[in-house]
Symmetry: C2
Subunit: 225 residues, 2 copies
């Protein structure tokens, strides 16, 4: 059975930088499922038109088309219940959803000003017009006025304080082993690491040690699927 994850890509198609697509990629690796990936640039929405919406990630899992990272995580646990769970039970699923809101509403907005012009630098020429227009309309300001680069790093690192405190007491956000809550936060770091050359996490930061402990998130044909 073929399994394909559509991910946001830069001018160099090997550069993937959607935090949500990274969640899904990590979720597939977690489940030990084989998959390949397909790059989608901002202005290549036609590639995912079959999904009935315009955002990555989209997972095509055999005959099933699943857009949206949260729906993908639930699909993987529901469909492959015999494989390592991303979320163990209904309450863990609801709590993971709550933690994902923290990542989306607090961590992402703290990271975006650090890497905004880095994103602009790695996307294709065609994508730059789209990116500038859509983001400047949302921000109400030029990209350059929102971008802070290295000056934004302290606020980003501070936004991770709850994770840092957690990791003093347990090795992963989800406990003794990583689970979807970890992949959600890791997706934010993946996003940043794949566009910027800044050191997002200091070498002595427990969050960095946690990130380095997580399994590699490369798609694998070797895994059974």
């Amino acid at each position: 059975m073929s399994r394909r994850l559509y991910e946001l890509a830069g001018a160099d198609a090997a550069r993937r930088f959607s935090p949500y697509a990274w969640r899904s990629r990590r979720a597939l690796v977690h489940k030990g499922l084989a998959f390949d990936t397909e790059p989608v640039r901002f202005t290549e929405k036609e590639k995912i038109a079959f999904s009935g919406q315009k955002r990555v990630p989209v997972l095509v899992d055999g005959a099933r088309v699943v857009p949206d990272s949260w729906a993908i995580a639930r699909h993987l646990d529901d469909t492959y219940a015999d494989r390592p769970p991303l979320m163990e039970g209904v309450q863990a699923r609801a709590l993971t959803f709550t933690l994902a809101q923290w990542v989306q509403r607090v961590v992402h907005p703290a990271l975006l000003p650090v890497i905004l012009m880095d994103i602009f630098a790695v996307i294709s020429d065609e994508d730059r017009n789209y990116f500038r227009q859509s983001r400047e309309r949302a921000f109400g300001r030029p990209l350059e006025a929102v971008h802070r680069g290295e000056a934004g790093l302290p606020a980003f690192r501070e936004s991770l304080a709850p994770a840092r405190a957690t990791l003093e007491s347990q090795p992963f956000l989800a406990g003794e082993t990583p689970a979807y809550a970890d992949h959600v936060l890791a997706g934010a770091i993946d996003w940043g690491c794949n566009v910027t050359s800044l050191t997002l996490l200091a070498a002595d930061d427990p969050v960095r040690h946690w990130y380095d402990r997580l399994p590699e998130a490369a798609p694998s044909r070797a895994a059974d699927g």
Copy 2:
């Protein structure tokens, strides 16, 4: 079997305002366990000296002495496994711990400047010296310089953005029914509501609707224990 929760109290012993003690009170109510409460003022540490440490809450559950709200929550689930769980399984427990770090590291610090002088106003004369000295040492500034009152409300409300986003999709942080993650966040609101006359949450705030939906947190002799 007797069950007693030691809680932080104001000059008026009926006023209880430790966010951590509120977590434990809500946890006991959640489990349907009967208990009474004992007020402890800041300068009445001798009342809980038997617990081997100086902080509330302390739960005395028959022969067991359990200090620390997190230890109390685990004790209640482990000891009364046949009653409604506060945390359903190991992963939910770990995720709840992570969410509790968010409450402690983000929500509490955002609320404290709103209510700091209100706390000072409701504690006993003896406690005021202790409170001012210990807090001013920690802040490195006079209480009055940290206190923001109503001016701090927007930042406090903004700190609740992840909860607000969650409650658009599910009725409680823990899913369809409230659980310990909800009690942890509710404890922060309880803390504020029991010292200030400010309206902490706007009437149309989904977080306020959630708070109003939670079970009453009064200790009950009627509950079976």
